[in-house]
């Protein structure tokens, strides 16, 4: 009886379809928000910001984006790295072209530009399905990378071919560049992450979300009951790419500060975000966070454990890291194929019944 939902009655459909229909959940969620917004900024240091929290928040946004496309709409994509690159380069071009405009606007515009590119590459999805589509999105991945590497306009003709984030401010506070304070960069990413989660949640609980899920679960039936598959799929591509673009922009401008396209947005990145989504749970916003946390934190935790605490050679630890991450992924799948999010749901179901087994 640790987890209770009894006693929560909803008298209106509005209250029933809110984000956290169960009071207990709602409070826990408020507590997390308060900590994230009001406590963490005061105790954060460079290491936590740059090594853990920023990547976590940024990957969470990307994972939410991909989850919309793959988890909700069922279109497996391996082009995430390429779309993040679009976000990053769009942001870079905007930052350098309009130095006085607020970063908020740049990042959102970068997302919008990525959305357009995403729709373009989403067009084949009308005919190509499943793993075929996944492989087809690789065409986007490789082509975009090639483009950003090849055309000097994208990197402002810099000799090195890298793009560097110049120092930019939001409300007079520096948030890009090396001297940006940790709390500011963290808050900036947190706001985007929070907004993304809210928007994603709103979209997925309403009509659009149901259209996506219908397409995912059975596209033919969806079409017969009145879903226009092209529009549903393209809207998923657009929304997904929008989030992925934002995460790419933040990844470049706030987190890394300098980026070389082939390295930062390689196919490995596409896979990484996909792993996050699947490990976390397809079709779950919470899962996107869980997956991002899992894949950002676990390697760091294993490194700290192996190198700093046990004093093993770094290479052995790195190899073990691979073995353990791999084994854990498999282990989780066997325990619960639908990801960490489902594991959490089942745990809740059990807690609700506790101490009675059924």
């Amino acid at each position: 009886m640790f987890y209770r939902e009894a006693g929560d009655f909803h008298t209106t459909y509005t209250s029933d379809s809110q984000t956290f229909p169960i009071k207990f959940d709602r409070y826990r969620y408020y507590v997390i928000l308060v900590i994230a917004f009001l406590v963490v900024p005061f105790i954060i240091n460079d290491y936590w910001a740059n090594a853990i929290l920023l990547p976590f928040l940024i990957y969470a946004i990307a994972a939410i984006g991909l989850n919309i496309l793959t988890g909700y709409c069922g279109q497996v994509s391996l082009g995430t790295g390429g779309f993040m690159a679009v976000g990053a380069y769009a942001c870079y071009k905007l930052m350098t072209a309009f130095p006085d405009v607020s970063m908020f606007i740049h990042v959102i515009l970068a997302g919008a530009i990525t959305a357009v590119v995403g729709v373009l590459f989403g067009l084949p999805s009308l005919r190509i399905k499943g793993f075929y589509l996944a492989v087809a999105t690789l065409a986007a991945q490789f082509f975009l990378l090639w483009l950003f590497n090849k055309v000097p306009w994208f990197y402002n003709y810099s000799a090195s071919g890298q793009i560097n984030a110049p120092e930019r401010e939001v409300f007079g506070i520096l948030i890009t560049g090396a001297s940006a304070p940790a709390w500011a960069t963290y808050l900036f990413c947190l706001i985007f992450c929070f907004a993304s989660a809210i928007v994603a949640r709103n979209l997925t609980r309403g009509t659009v979300g149901r259209k996506w899920m219908a397409i995912r679960d059975m596209d033919i039936a969806a079409e017969i009951i009145g879903v226009n598959p092209l529009r549903a799929k393209l809207s998923a591509f657009a929304v997904s790419s929008f989030f992925v673009g934002i995460s790419g922009a933040l990844f470049f401008s706030i987190y890394l500060g300098a980026v070389e396209v082939g390295e930062a947005f390689s196919i490995q990145k596409s896979f990484l975000v996909l792993f996050m989504v699947i490990v976390g749970g397809l079709g779950s916003i919470f899962g996107s966070f869980a997956g991002a946390a899992f894949l950002v934190l676990l390697p760091v935790a294993l490194k700290v454990l192996g190198v700093d605490m046990l004093g093993w050679p770094t290479d052995i630890v790195a190899h073990f890291q691979l073995v353990i991450v791999g084994a854990l992924i498999i282990f989780f799948l066997i325990v619960e194929p639908h990801g960490l999010a489902q594991l959490w749901r089942l745990a809740k179901e059990k807690l609700r019944l506790w101490p009675f087994p059924h």
């Binding site: 179901e349 059990k350 059924h358």
Partner: protein
């Protein structure tokens, strides 16, 4: 119609024995709450009950297909010829002569009808001639399949797929067939035909059947013995002839009132359902 009393009199050898099993899905959903039943050699045993009563679950528990549904038998035992079998590989059970025809057909979509049938021969090693002979036999039972033998099973109609599923099971020359809703989606004539085949196999070749059916009417006509399942429990069992005469069974499963068959038009009013147990 069969004389049910004949087979129940003789104490036939028990092929399958299910002892008080409990099944849980996903570690949390309790579906079977103690089901026991026997399948005697040479008998047709019917498992009846409404939607979600647990018929399919019982059959899957017997044929060891629960694992792939994330279900498990947590209590009780299942014995085949006295041996505990619920740790066996499903394939091993087929080799021992127990085969299941799954609910909802489950044909191999991309294989042709004929290839589908041939997969049923997988566990046997009696050579090509025997295979062809058995194939021929199946085609005799289901002439429609012969016509469609070269088309991909995924494109055949619902009824055709049902025939494929049953035919496929026959190809393994089973001793016991667990048949899950064979009549579903079949035209009345074909239902008769399929039950005719069941009866034929039972009488001529001594195949035993455990039959999960919604179509109580037909099932009780052909079965020797029946179990009625309600929300995961056996609420009633007895020789088919007796069950047919039971007034409750008559009302709830056969759709007959005292005045004979009711019209489906006349059931517009709400009515409380009577429960035996639970």
């Amino acid at each position: 119609m069969l004389d049910a009393a004949k087979t129940t009199d003789v104490q036939a050898e028990t092929l399958l024995e299910v002892n008080n099993i409990e099944v849980i899905y996903n570690h949390v959903i309790l579906v079977l709450k103690g089901v026991s039943l026997n399948v005697p050699r040479g008998g047709i045993t019917a498992l009846l009950g409404g939607n979600g009563a647990g018929k399919t679950t019982t059959l899957k528990a017997i044929s060891n297909l629960l694992h792939s549904e994330r279900g498990e038998v947590t209590k009780g035992s299942i014995k085949h010829r006295g041996e505990i079998v619920h740790e066996l590989d499903p394939a091993e059970l087929v080799r021992r002569g127990v085969i299941q025809v799954m609910e909802g057909r489950h044909c191999f979509e991309h294989l042709t009808v004929e290839e589908n049938l041939l997969t049923g021969y997988y566990t046997r090693a009696e050579g090509k001639a025997a295979m062809m002979a058995d194939l021929e036999k199946v085609y005799e039972y289901f002439p429609r399949l012969r016509e469609r033998r070269k088309s991909q099973a995924g494109y055949t109609s619902g009824g055709e797929q049902q025939m494929v599923a049953i035919g496929r099971a026959l190809m393994s020359k089973p001793e016991t067939i667990l048949l899950d809703e064979p009549s579903m989606g079949l035209a009345p004539q074909l239902v008769e035909e399929i039950f005719g085949i069941v009866k034929d196999l039972n009488e001529k070749e001594g195949v035993s059947f455990l039959l999960a059916e919604q179509n109580t009417n037909v099932a009780l006509r052909f079965a020797h013995y029946g179990y009625i399942l309600e929300s995961g429990r056996v609420v009633m069992d007895g020789p088919a002839a007796e069950l047919r005469e039971n007034p409750d069974v008559k009302e709830f499963y056969l759709g007959m009132s005292d005045e004979g068959r009711k019209s489906f038009r006349d059931v517009r009013s709400y009515r409380r359902r009577k429960r035996w147990l639970s």
